[in-house]
């Protein structure tokens, strides 16, 4: 196997598995914070139960996110040493800041959230929940800033030996590409959080247990899913798309499966890119819409793939399918959220079994949409590791060979299979145990034996 392919496969596999958990933490953190603050302010017993329940689910997510996140940071050095050595002056800074400003915030205050329930004042406990939420969102920002620099490098200069030097950290942190990308990423996580909370609520309603909580979860989840599935399309998705149009037109062409440049570019809904004949097979398309979406004018020229050298094309099929899966699922999420909201305001939702089933079974799909979005972003960035500046093939560690990487990739696969199994087992167990359970998740029992 080619070393570049092995390195890319390992990064793709480990980052996609890892990202399942940050989606959950970023999406569920506001629910944990909301219920914890509510319980602290009002002393409401139901809010306190909800807070504990979601904290447990959050904790399993968080732990899996931490352990799978560690290899991400280290892979820059292990597998992408040339990239790290050349651009580390820029890339290293937001990553170091993530560690210092976000990881500590999350992990130290999560300790309080999990173990401090009967040890600290309720106000401090609630503050910790807010800090954990802040930390997980901040962490996401630094990661997106790092990625945005690879998509659209700013605030740098190239030294005579080719090394990239930082000229403005402010410009890197305020990269215009990062702002909308981050809003889109966060919005995607909140859609997921909304669908999880609603789905768990629907499960309780369908199982005829913990029904008061079930109704509250469905309400809170649907509202969140409705707002953020809309926000994911407009303005965040739209603006993110505008950035791609402006800075990465060849990625746009691959996303849309547009081979020839046109003044009346259609927006393709369904179809299959055929690279051999350089056209879309069996397209179902809305005429002129892509020209309008990209440039606000139905007669604007949109460059097709053929306008660019073949070696500058990203992998077209992967980019195209991932993009269409993301957009298609996003549209379905809006439809589900609108349908459930309408039934909710007319007080018919809790009796509508098929819709509750729909909500419950919808839970995995926001994950797929989020992952597909990242595939569009990162596969669509190829062949560049830093857009227009450095090729992916020149970024790998020259002293690590394909065999070694393949070996560790298989090792990660085995480890993550075990972790994924345990994650599902424990999460489903917590959901199955319900709101009144006292599963020994937060081992406070030994507190009496502790001395300071």
């Amino acid at each position: 196997m080619d070393t570049v392919v092995a390195d890319r496969l390992q990064f793709a596999f480990t980052v996609m598995f890892h990202y399942l958990f940050p989606i959950g933490t970023m999406g569920l953190a506001p629910f944990v914070a909301w219920y914890t603050v509510k319980a602290a302010r009002t002393g409401d017993a139901d809010a306190a139960k909800s807070a504990r329940f979601w904290t447990k689910i959050f904790a399993v997510n968080f732990a899996a996110g931490v352990v799978t996140g560690i290899p991400m940071e280290f892979q820059f050095g292990t597998n992408w040493a040339a990239f790290s050595a050349r651009t580390g002056e820029v890339i290293g800074q937001p990553l170091a800041m993530e560690g210092l400003f976000a990881f500590f915030l999350e992990s130290i205050f999560l300790g309080v959230l999990l173990y401090g329930h009967e040890r600290v004042a309720p106000a401090f406990h609630a503050l910790s929940a807010v800090m954990v939420c802040l930390g997980s969102w901040l962490s996401g920002y630094f990661i997106v800033v790092t990625d945005a620099w690879m998509q659209h490098p700013v605030g740098y200069a190239v030294a005579h030996d080719g090394t990239v030097t930082l000229t403005s950290l402010g410009a890197v942190l305020m990269n215009p590409f990062a702002l909308w990308q981050y809003a889109h990423v966060l919005s995607g996580a909140l859609v997921t959080g909304g669908f999880i909370v609603a789905g768990v609520g629907a499960f309780y309603l369908l199982s005829r247990r913990d029904e008061a909580f079930g109704r509250a979860f469905v309400r809170a989840g649907i509202l969140t899913a409705l707002v953020f599935s809309a926000v994911s399309v407009f303005p965040t998705g739209d603006r993110n798309g505008a950035d791609v149009t402006a800075y990465q037109p060849v990625k746009l062409a691959a996303m849309e499966g547009l081979f020839e440049s046109r003044h009346d570019a259609p927006l393709d809904i369904i179809g299959m890119p055929d690279l051999k004949h350089k056209k879309l097979m069996d397209p179902v398309a809305v005429p002129d819409l892509l020209s309008f979406l990209a440039y606000g004018n139905f007669r604007a020229n949109v460059n097709g793939l053929s306008a660019y050298a073949r070696e500058l094309w990203p992998p077209v099929e992967l980019t195209y399918y991932a993009y269409h899966i993301m957009v298609g699922l996003g549209t379905i999420f809006i439809a589900i959220a609108v349908l459930a909201s309408l039934l909710l305001v007319t007080s018919r939702l809790f009796g509508a079994k098929p819709v509750l089933w729909l909500l419950m079974l919808a839970m995995p799909f926001p994950y797929i949409a989020n992952e597909a979005g990242w595939v569009v972003s990162e596969v669509g960035r190829q062949p560049w590791i830093v857009y227009g500046l450095m090729r992916t093939s020149t970024g790998i560690s020259t002293n690590v060979n394909a065999g070694e990487t393949l070996f560790t990739l298989i090792g990660f696969a085995g480890m993550y299979f075990l972790l994924g199994f345990l994650f599902l087992f424990l999460t489903l167990r917590e959901i199955g145990a319900g709101l009144d359970s006292h599963t020994p998740d937060t081992p406070a029992p030994s507190a009496p034996a502790l001395v300071s």
Binding site: G77, A85, A447, S452
Partner: protein, 336 residues
């Protein structure tokens, strides 16, 4: 500015060793410490709220190494590809063990994860020690600063000696932590005394070996020598304090010992990040860092970040611990 950066990074590594050191140590001695499931539950629960915050010091130090010295970061991690991957897997496995142990109230489940936690903790302490030993020893580098030796070379006697020493010191550190935190800590005085004696013997041996094989001179030698002596005094003090049952003082002495030992190691290493044992020069802090303007900026940011983190980590730990002691007092009163 490179010196300031090096000092900040060293401070982070020392903090990591002190904090994660005790929970690695708790893992390493878990079964030596106790044969009962309840006591092991107490031991793991006592590090429960803290271990993840402690481990973040390693992650953050990795990130800061990347930002301060990208060339060293790239050369180290790709040069030691497989050992680093093993380290990562152990960290993952240990994290899983700690997080999952409490989820089921089953004896079998506890036993499995206790052994997983214990073995991965001991292996991590050993590997981190071996890594430090190799850094002190110097590595065979080529003209580009890449590692060119074999893995068997990494397991040289000196590095293994430092590794075993690290394991023993951290095990003792963890034991001191448990005695400080747990009222009903099991006695096992003989096992502890054995560990303590071993740490002193190894301290003398590793110090002598380092002095004999490292041609360092001048102020660096003086600093390393003084710190090595302080470390010896601190390790002796641990045993004395434990005998007098002054558990907090013993933990403080153990911490002072680790700080001085790592201080001596840093003095031996400076100004190298990766010293070379071959003819080619090693990588110093001056060559490995970015242009001075960018470095000054990130050094300032890291310094501010560290002050903030130190403040709230101390404040949060105190709040969590303060309540434990009150609760204990109530319990004691009730039982009387």
């Amino acid at each position: 500015m490179s010196n300031v950066a090096f000092a900040l990074l060293a401070a982070m590594v020392v903090t990591y060793a002190l904090l994660d050191g005790y929970d690695l140590g708790v893992g390493a001695i878990l079964h030596l410490f106790s044969r009962s499931d309840t006591e092991r539950s107490d031991a793991t629960a006592s590090i429960g709220p803290f271990w993840s915050g402690n481990e973040v010091w390693l992650i953050a130090a990795g990130g800061v190494l990347f930002a301060f010295f990208p060339r060293a970061y790239a050369a180290l991690f790709s040069g030691f590809y497989l050992p680093f991957m093993v380290l990562l897997w152990l960290l993952i496995f240990r994290g899983i063990a700690l997080e999952l142990r409490g989820h089921l109230a089953s004896r079998l489940w506890h036993d499995f994860w206790d052994w997983a936690f214990s073995l991965s903790s001991a292996a991590l302490a050993l590997i981190l020690g071996v890594a430090l030993g190799n850094l002190l020893h110097g590595l065979p580098l080529d003209a580009q600063g890449n590692f060119v030796g074999s893995f068997a070379l990494l397991l040289n006697p000196y590095a293994l000696g430092v590794g075993v020493f690290a394991l023993v010191v951290l095990a003792q550190h963890g034991w001191c932590y448990l005695r400080m935190r747990l009222r009903d800590a099991p006695e096992n005085a003989n096992a502890f005394r054995g560990l303590w004696l071993l740490s002193i013997v190894l301290d003398l041996a590793v110090t002598a070996w380092t002095v004999a094989t490292h041609p360092i001179a001048g102020p660096r030698l003086a600093i390393a020598g003084v710190l090595g002596f302080v470390a010896l005094l601190a390790l002796v003090a641990v045993g004395v304090m434990q005998r007098q049952r002054r558990t907090v003082a013993a933990f403080a002495a153990s911490s002072a010992g680790i700080v001085s030992l790592l201080g001596a190691a840093v003095a031996t290493l400076y100004p190298y990040l990766i010293p070379s044992s071959s003819g080619y020069p090693g990588l110093t802090i001056f060559e490995a860092s970015p242009s001075s303007g960018a470095l000054a900026g990130i050094v300032a940011i890291v310094a501010i970040g560290l002050i903030v983190v130190y403040s709230y980590q101390i404040a949060v730990t105190r709040r969590l611990l303060a309540h434990c002691s009150e609760q204990t007092l109530v319990q004691v009163k009730q039982s009387e």
